[in-house]
């Protein structure tokens, strides 16, 4: 049977993981900052921001469109949007403005814009997962063996 202190520890740890996820999603790299990994935080913030900004610059905000033109496995939800939304909640606001082709974009600019914005979102997901790992074990990948 768990003691009260153990239960509080578990709740606090769960809360920390939730904060890490929320912070990592809100601002790319912020979760690393919370965990004391300043260099990683800076590199992640700069890289993901620039990658997303290049996508928006090349393809315009029209590449962020929550609704697909055709009905697919996800209904009217655009599958690219699922990856783009992982960048930050800001994508929600952009999506509100661009819903249903308000800013149409076609061809190569759309292709490059979608790739950049979606890949930056997936890279942010990778960083969030890595932050959860660090928060769970209290150490970065590759350092675990020294602590055993």
């Amino acid at each position: 049977m768990r003691t009260i202190a153990e239960t509080i520890d578990r709740v606090n740890h769960g809360l920390l993981l939730l904060i890490v996820v929320a912070l990592g999603w809100a601002v790319p790299g912020a979760a690393y900052l919370l965990l004391g990994e300043t260099k990683r935080a800076f590199l992640v913030f700069v890289t993901i921001s620039i990658t997303f900004a290049i996508g928006i610059y090349v393809g315009s905000i029209g590449v962020v469109d929550p609704l697909a033109e055709t009905i697919g496995i996800l209904g009217r939800l655009n599958p690219w949007y699922l990856a783009q939304i992982l960048n930050s909640p800001i994508v929600f606001l952009i999506g509100e403005a661009t819903t249903a082709g308000a800013y149409p974009v076609y061809g190569k600019p759309q292709e490059i814009g979608q790739l950049y914005t979606s890949v930056s979102g997936l890279l942010n997901l990778l960083c969030i997962i890595n932050c959860i790992y660090i928060a769970q074990l209290g150490t970065a990948i590759g350092k675990e063996k020294k602590n055993v």
Binding site: R40, V44, G62
Partner: protein
């Protein structure tokens, strides 16, 4: 800060004019660099400028070489099919 960020991003309302030509393949380079940087950020036990740069450049070069090799193989298969 938040509002100004949204305003800045929302000001990109017209796409750039990019044509389909061999040079447009160069758009893969910044993306490959971003993937290499983020991957190494998550994998290196300790971030030091020298090691990080070396590891990132090696991964970036590996990605680019692999893509070029894939293009070469696909081009060769296509060439065999149409000849």
């Amino acid at each position: 800060m938040f509002n100004s960020t949204v305003r800045l991003l929302a000001s990109f309302t017209a796409p750039e004019n990019i044509t389909v030509n061999p040079q447009s393949m160069l758009w893969m380079l910044p993306l490959a660099a971003a993937v290499a940087v983020i991957y190494k950020v998550t994998k290196l036990p300790k971030i030091t400028a020298r090691v990080f740069l070396k590891e990132t450049v090696v991964l970036f070069a590996s990605i680019v070489v692999f893509i070029i090799a894939t293009v070469a193989v696909l081009w060769f298969v296509t060439w065999l099919a149409i000849e």
